[in-house]
């Protein structure tokens, strides 16, 4: 009796297992302002009937679904049988799978650092000839993207491995337009205006900023974003690159100055919600909620483009909440630098379908379908911005395509022990008032020396 029950359960599980989560074709072929000609041309050039493709990436839930919807179009065009699996522990799992030889065809890495390691161990296959040139010509700030996707392989040769797809912009300040209206505030165009606005808010008895640095084991990362953003606003991009590669030491006076600059925003009881020493105890996911309090706990929140996911339910972007570009100093003449991050596609187990999918990602169509869903930004110049799902996303996309300088999140490029270790903890020490900027910078530098 018991055994037949188990057998029954197993049979049901196996049958249920054969049904698969699938994306759907959001728009019928030919509908809307998408690049259907490009889609058709791609479909005509590729016939992959009977081929299968596995893709492994970091996106779960809604984001994963959006990507599956894109994969559905690829299957529609080529006849391939593709599947996407998301994981929040991709970093560990891909290492195990690659080492054991069961890697998926394509892997989407959340940061270039990990992909660089994989390339060094010989687990990645370089992208087709000409991919790098294509990126240079078709992405805004193309050379930055090529450099970010180029890694050393086991023999020490540099090759182009990573195609950036799904980018987010970090240089954003979120606010509630109606609150600004109630108080008569204007969106600041320069950093000087931004600081004057903060003073104005304090004079009105309001708190300018909501800052939250807590994020479980990654506590401190929002502060590293602040420092990187301010670095790009006070120093030329070349200095930023030297800093990220440690040609300029972490305890250089210029770095200390930037950390202190960060402190001038957040180490001031008047400027932040609660005690300035406590920002590291506030969860970054909860921190934006202060904007929506009644009466508002704070007026502005500097955070990347993904943060609306943590706004209260039913918040309509562009009306209930909006963003402006975290402005640059007018006097420094450094243009409009943009800090961002993104995920990159790599080939971990080559087959014809994987090659075709990488070509598919070059079509404007692939970007447009993703743009029409939430939370996707692209530097692809050929993709039609009309396809963005809403004005907020379009605005962020424009920040990306108009950037005079694009720099990748520096902490993701530094060695893991620093960028995902001492830089985070150091910023927590500094933010809680335990140590001053010079001490923190010195400690981070010595951990960097130790990591070499």
């Amino acid at each position: 009796m018991k055994h037949s029950l188990y057998a029954g359960a197993a049979a049901i599980a196996l049958m249920a297992g054969s049904v698969q989560a699938q994306g759907e074709l959001l728009h019928a072929v030919g509908d809307g302002s998408f690049d259907w000609d490009g889609f058709q041309a791609f479909a005509d050039a590729h016939d992959l009937s009977g081929e299968s493709l596995t893709i492994f990436g970091p996106w779960l839930a809604g984001e994963g679904q959006s990507f599956e919807n894109l994969v559905a179009y690829f299957d529609e065009a080529t006849g391939a049988d593709s599947s996407y699996v998301g994981s929040d522990s991709l970093e560990q799992q891909i290492l195990i799978d690659a080492a054991a030889g069961s890697a998926p065809n394509l892997t989407v890495f959340p940061q270039p650092g990990l992909a660089a390691n994989m390339a060094k161990n010989g687990y990645l296959t370089p992208l087709a000839e000409g991919s790098a040139d294509w990126i240079k010509d078709n992405f805004a700030a193309g050379q930055s993207w090529v450099d970010l996707g180029t890694f050393e392989n086991a023999e020490g040769n540099r090759d182009f491995y990573g195609f950036f797809f799904n980018v987010n912009v970090k240089s954003l300040v979120w606010y509630i337009p109606e609150n600004f209206e109630d108080f008569g505030y204007e969106v600041p165009q320069t950093m000087e205006d931004f600081k004057a606005l903060m003073e104005q808010m304090v004079a009105d008895g309001e708190t300018p900023l909501c800052v939250g640095l807590a994020s479980g084991g990654a506590t401190g990362w929002p502060a590293t974003d602040w420092v990187e953003d301010l670095m790009l606003r006070t120093q030329p991009p070349e200095v930023y690159d030297q800093w990220v590669s440690n040609e300029m030491k972490f305890d250089d006076p210029r770095v200390i100055e930037v950390i202190e600059e960060y402190g001038s925003f957040t180490r001031n009881d008047d400027y932040v919600v609660g005690d300035a020493d406590d920002t590291a105890a506030i969860d970054f996911r909860d921190s934006p909620k202060g904007l929506f309090d009644s009466p508002p706990a704070c007026m502005m929140h500097r955070q990347a483009s993904f943060i609306p996911a943590y706004f209260p339910e039913g918040t309509e972007l562009g009306v209930d909440a909006d963003f402006f570009y975290f402005p640059a100093y007018a006097e420094k003449d450094l243009g409009t630098p943009v800090l961002g991050a993104g995920t990159l596609f790599t080939v971990t187990n080559p087959n014809p379908a994987a090659e075709a999918f990488m070509e598919f990602l070059q079509t404007p169509f692939a970007h447009e379908i993703m743009m029409s869903q939430d939370g996707f930004l692209t530097p692809h110049l050929g993709a039609n911005p009309e396809n963005y799902a809403n004005d907020t996303q379009r605005g962020q996309g424009e920040i990306l395509t108009n950037a005079t300088t694009f720099r990748f999140d520096g902490s993701d490029l530094m060695p893991g022990a620093v960028g995902a270790g001492t830089f985070w903890t150091g910023m927590v020490d500094y933010s809680s008032g335990a140590k001053d900027a010079a001490t923190v910078a010195g400690e981070i530098q010595s951990s960097w020396d130790a990591a070499k």
């Binding site: 599980a13 249920a16 049904v19 996911r285 339910e313």
Partner: protein
């Protein structure tokens, strides 16, 4: 003697008080989790679960109906409605229309709108906007209210966890895959370990003590060490990633504890019993099946509980040996992680998923818990 007898009630009192304390320590967080699983994300971040049972005074930001709903009454353009949803019960004590002063007006008072016109809000949330000219724009005005709200609970979280997205991808499928992983992964190690434990406890052969020492030594080897070599091995011999692989992996990882636990229990069984059976001409296999197995039932059951709970809650082994990039297989723990989303932080989903996933282990535990303590103690205390 009377002194000692006299201390007993006090001692008993201390024991009972500490039991109550321990129970409270365990139950309070669980109740909090249960209550949270019926609240929305906004409620969870807004106030603690212990306040959710009582009416609470809250500052809310609400919005009037959009100008497109206005009607003309005589010379006036009017928008009427209620700020709350139909099923919401609340009493407004103060209200305002600017973030500057959210409690500027009492119910029944009338405020001048910045863009022209007036608004009157009553205590029950009904409002009336009047304007000599047409209301413009496409959104209603914000109304800040200080209101006392009755408690509110929702089943949406359970709906989302159990039946979310495309139906075939829901918890139901993951539930059956988890059972498919868990049941064989509990039975196989018990079968193998029972034989081994009997041999190690009652059969004389050279090197027995060394073998026992080796098994005990294996208890301290972390399974993470074996992940990559074992997966490589599985791929080489053609098992690949799948149910068979995950059963074998769980069996292997559970074996040292199983053998150790069962051997200690079996070694404690009375020697006379087994020797009598031998004298009566019973074979080793008969002794094992007719005597040892029935007598070892508490130990078998307690190990079964351990192994079942561990494989039920396992994510690591399933991710390495079962879940491949085709997305055909999943387990409940993995499904819960997926529901949490890329950046985590969905407390309402976490609380709900926790309650869904502990349902089966609770049943197993209560069905077999009388063996748990007996089996554990019998192995260690002689």
């Amino acid at each position: 003697m009377s002194d000692i007898a006299g201390t007993k009630p006090a001692l008993r009192w201390v024991v009972q008080a500490s039991v109550v304390l321990l129970v409270a320590l365990w139950v309070i967080p669980t109740v909090g989790l249960l209550v949270s699983s019926f609240r929305t994300a906004d409620q969870i971040s807004g106030s603690g679960w212990w306040r959710s049972m009582f009416p609470s005074e809250q500052n809310l930001t609400l919005r009037s109906a959009a100008p497109e709903t206005q009607v003309q009454q005589g010379d006036l353009y009017v928008i009427e409605g209620t700020l709350f949803d139909d099923d919401q019960q609340a009493a407004i004590s103060r209200w305002g229309i600017s973030a500057r002063e959210v409690d500027a007006y009492a119910p029944g008072e009338t405020a001048e709108l910045r863009r022209g016109g007036t608004i009157t809000v009553d205590a029950d949330g009904t409002y009336r906007m009047e304007n000599a000219e047409e209301f413009s724009g496409n959104r209603g005005v914000r109304v800040f209210v200080t209101a006392t709200q009755s408690p509110e609970f929702t089943l949406d979280n359970y709906r989302k966890v159990l039946f979310s997205s495309s139906g075939d991808d829901s918890m139901g499928r993951a539930f059956f895959s988890t059972l498919t992983v868990t049941i064989p992964a509990t039975i196989i190690p018990i079968l193998v370990a029972a034989f081994a434990a009997y041999a190690l406890a009652w059969m004389e052969f050279p090197g027995r003590a060394l073998l026992i020492a080796a098994v005990v030594g294996l208890l301290v080897v972390p399974l993470q060490l074996a992940l990559i070599p074992l997966l490589k091995f599985h791929l080489n011999i053609g098992i690949g990633k799948g149910y068979l692989g995950v059963w074998l992996a769980h069996t292997g990882f559970g074996m040292p504890l199983a053998i150790y636990l069962l051997r200690n229990y079996m070694a404690g069984l009375p020697r006379d019993l087994i020797e009598n059976a031998r004298v009566d001409g019973a074979t080793e296999f008969q002794i094992f099946t007719k005597l040892i197995l029935p007598l070892s039932f508490p130990a078998l059951a307690s190990f079964a509980i351990f192994q079942f709970l561990w494989t039920w809650n396992d994510l690591l082994v399933a991710k390495v040996f079962l879940i491949d990039a085709t997305g055909q297989t999943t387990v409940m723990t993995n499904r819960i992680v997926e529901l949490l989303g890329t950046r985590g932080g969905n407390w309402e989903i976490l609380a709900t998923a926790a309650f869904v996933s502990i349902a089966v282990p609770l049943v197993v535990f209560f069905a077999m818990q009388k063996y748990l303590v007996r089996g554990l103690l019998a192995g260690s205390v002689k």
